[in-house]
Amino acid sequence: MIFLTDLLRLCDEHDIHVNRESLPDGIQTLLKLAFTVTERRSQRRAVLGQPVLTKIGNVTIEMHRNWSDMLGFIGEVFSAFINFFRRKAQFRLSDLFFQIEAAGPSALFIVTLISVLVGMILAFVGAVQLRLFGAEIFIANLVGLGMAREMGAMMTAIIMAGRTGAAYAALLGTMQVNEEIDALKTIAVSPVEFLVLPRVIALLLTMPLLCIYSDFMGIIGGAIVSATMLDISFFQYFQQIQGFVGLSHFFIGVFKAAVFGILIAMAGCFRGLQCGRSASAVGFAATSAVVTSIVLIIVADAIITVLCQVLGI
């Protein structure tokens, strides 16, 4: 049947007349049905076979639009925050608590696992090198500094980008597909205030706490390796950390975590709101939320690190 329709279409395109009378009755009826709704070819946009320059042009226009959309979104979130501080933001407190619960406590297990392992890896890598100089005890400095300044915040951020950021994008994307976002607009409720604001605040609050937790878990991971590989007792290890890793290092990590939290929530929500109107678009939104978050996290980390260097913190 499919062969027949293809054949007939081909004949049609080449102006060849086909005599269908000799076909069985049933087949004739089916053919008639198949050709009653003529496909509107002009409606299909020709994506294939564009010249390279057109493609480059389109991608550039797309990128430009993406940037201006993003700037607009940042502005909207900013004004939502202003409304929040003026206590005029349209959102439900219960929503905020729910988001905090979903983002924080339920991520503890995976944060524990990853942080302990990262602490152990740091200690392993360091141990081999430091042993060459007989400076094993400095393993504590290495792990302590590494976790507090960098890895605690970074690892939590990457976990949260994959877990929470992607979930935000998928949820808001689905709401976009179901016209729920439009329904909010038609009752004059700002989707940014109602949906984005509680999520940004939730991550802004939970990320620093998760980061502190992750720091300690990483340091414990390092302690396990030091004790088993280098014969450094827990007591020596923690005393060394207490002596050399000041609180300011932890503050830098916590500050980074807060920044990352905002970035993850905004990237997730932005991709969700930008989502097209199909199920595959939702999948794409979730993926691109994770990619966007991770790029933003690393760029922000680099900027903060350079700033700390310049300021001498």
């Binding site: 509107r40 409606q43 709401m175 016209e179 729920e180 439009d182 038609t186 009752i187 004059a188 409720v189």
Partner: protein, 251 residues
């Protein structure tokens, strides 16, 4: 009260497009106060898109949408807000907020736009849900009810604020014949008791003839209105085969 001379809703030279591709162009029609206005046309011809333009979700590529003579896109933000909050919308898929129960869906509107006490809000919710036969389902989430029920709940939400103008996108699609019939009664009731203007996108012939005062017919190839007038008159007087086919379900 607004004067009856200016139509409640008027569309002038409206062109609708997604990016480069034009969906419909040069649309002109007006909907007067208290009228039940039907938008007809084959699927994919841009009826939902037209609705999105009427309720201010999409900006016209060209032309104007006027409420009581005020252009929606020239009005100041306050006026826009007022126009929008005086209209109720039922989307094609219901578009209930999935993270809230049916009751909370309606509650959100009432909290945002009225000064009712919590007790009064609960009463309104119960009343609106009972209108669409869902009084026992206030505590259900949208995912826990059927598609037709979602549609009816969406209807209850659209009516929550007793709006001046209601937009329904295929309200009877997915409803059983009896609910569909009851919906027609409800629509007439809304118009007669509240004087609401109602704009309906519909394929349901029975319902079109039962409730429609006025209508337009969109065509996907002409990309504009090919017929307009009361559905009954159209059936008798129209000579356009596409319109006749649609209205008589003939091949």
């Amino acid at each position: 009260m607004m004067s009856t001379a200016t139509p409640h809703l008027e569309v002038r030279q409206l062109t609708m497009a997604y990016g480069e591709s034009i969906i419909q162009e040069k649309l002109n029609f007006s909907v007067s106060q208290g009228e039940i206005f039907i938008i007809m046309g084959g699927s994919g011809c841009g009826k939902s898109t037209l609705l999105r333009h009427l309720i201010g979700l999409m900006k016209p590529a060209q032309g104007e949408v006027l409420y009581h003579g005020v252009d929606l896109w020239q009005a100041d933000p306050e006026q826009q807000q007022r126009i929008i909050s005086r209209s109720g919308v039922l989307f094609q898929g219901g578009a209930l907020w999935s993270s809230m129960t049916l009751g909370e869906n309606i509650e959100l509107l009432l909290k945002e736009h009225t000064q009712l006490t919590p007790k009064q809000i609960q009463d309104v919710i119960a009343y609106k849900l009972s209108l669409v036969g869902l009084s026992r389902y206030a505590d259900y989430y949208p995912s826990e009810i059927s598609g037709g029920m979602r549609k009816r709940a969406g209807l209850a939400r659209a009516m929550a604020l007793d709006p001046d103008i209601l937009f329904f996108d295929e309200p009877s699609a997915g409803l059983d014949p009896i609910s569909s019939r009851r919906l027609d009664d409800l629509i007439l009731e809304l118009r007669d008791s509240l004087g609401a203007t109602i704009v309906i996108v519909s394929h349901e012939l029975a319902s079109i003839f039962a409730v429609g005062d006025n209508s337009i017919f969109l065509d996907p190839t002409e990309k504009t209105i090919i017929a307009s007038g009361s559905p009954k008159d159209l059936l008798e007087t129209s000579s356009d085969p596409r319109v006749i086919q649609f209205l008589t379900r003939m091949k």
